[in-house]
Amino acid sequence: MKRRTLLATLGVTAAGTAIGTGAFTSVEATRTVNVNIADEDQALLAMEPIDDTITADEERGEIRLSFDEDPGDGGNGRGPGSESTYLFDRLFRVTNQGTQDVFFESDFEKTHGDQEIGNVGFYVAETDDSLLDGESAVAKIEPGQAAEIGTLIGTQGVDPELDNSAEFDFDATITASDEVPGDGVTVLDNEGDEVNDGVSGQ
């Protein structure tokens, strides 16, 4: 009988403790995380060639622009000439497959060794007077929208004789950020039309 009482008391104590619990000393919670790389044309910022004579898919799905080859269709030029500005409209398509508006811009390494490689820029649609360098202009791409990106190449000041191959390989760093650009930066929409306030125009 006494023993039963003791048990009962313990039982109550245990229940009493249970009510107040919530002070945990230690917890380890293991959770599943799925992280994968998608093909470039199916990624959050999807990129794919439009003009596949100049824009090609690399092995890993990365796009690569080549202005050093036969353009095909009977053309046999081999690259841009010196002291010139070339425009290549609509070379590749960038689609926002994320969840919020992004502002597209790009930076280029503008040297090759110790040589200047001239002027290079991306632009949206045919708006080549607003290069998307993040300082003068950016292109706003809403989720589900695609922008067709062209490339300006200016060879002023580049002497092809300096380098017999006259070939320059360099990287473009493309940035698509949801950070609204500062004042003074022109915001274009995915068709190249100016957006007034940077925030969704309605």
Partner: protein, 178 residues
């Protein structure tokens, strides 16, 4: 004199354990919206980008646990997914929290390609949430939002990256009285 010597005693005691979904656990994990606020229907998941079939974060309706999905990263790119989920201390004591990342499966994976940051931190200047040395102290009733940063430079699309995140919370006073 001889009492107290027993060879065996069996005594059943009641222990009530109510295992809760992650959203209601002492260490609560909740999917959040773009503003960093917990979403109303966590089993339905937070936002789903067009490039993915699954939302970035959801409470799995079978397991009650948080699942994270970031499955359409660009190759050779740094991607930031802000406001992925919230960690809340719904216990009664202050705890030190740190994160452990791992890949379990064939090969080593690339768990270091993924970093988790506290929402108010700046990946440019602040350290990611890592081991005990890079954890954070969370008072009871407090919470923080977690961002994900993935750097896929040098990783082939078919390579494994990460499949497990372990969130560890330990009472700040644990060990002091031992």
């Amino acid at each position: 004199m001889g009492t107290g010597a027993f060879t065996n005693v069996t005594a059943d005691r009641q222990i009530d354990v109510d295992v809760r979904d992650d959203t209601e656990a002492y260490l609560a994990l909740q999917p959040v919206d773009t503003s960093g606020d917990p979403i109303d229907d966590p089993e339905n998941g937070s936002r789903t980008p067009l490039a993915q079939d699954d939302p970035f974060a959801l409470i799995n309706e079978d397991t009650g646990r948080l699942d994270l999905n970031v499955t359409a990263l660009n190759v050779d790119a740094v991607t930031t997914i802000p406001n992925l989920f919230q960690v809340s201390n719904l216990g009664r004591n202050e705890v030190d929290i740190h994160f452990e990342k791992s890949f379990e499966g064939e090969g080593p994976g690339n768990p270091d390609a993924v970093s988790f940051y506290r929402g108010q931190d700046d990946p440019e200047t602040d350290d990611p949430l890592g081991d005990e040395d890079n954890g954070i102290t969370l008072g009871d009733g407090n919470s923080f939002v977690v961002d994900l940063v993935a750097d896929t430079e040098g990783i082939a699309p078919e390579d494994n990256i990460i499949n497990t995140l372990t969130i560890v919370g330990v009472d700040v006073n644990r060990g002091d009285s031992a």
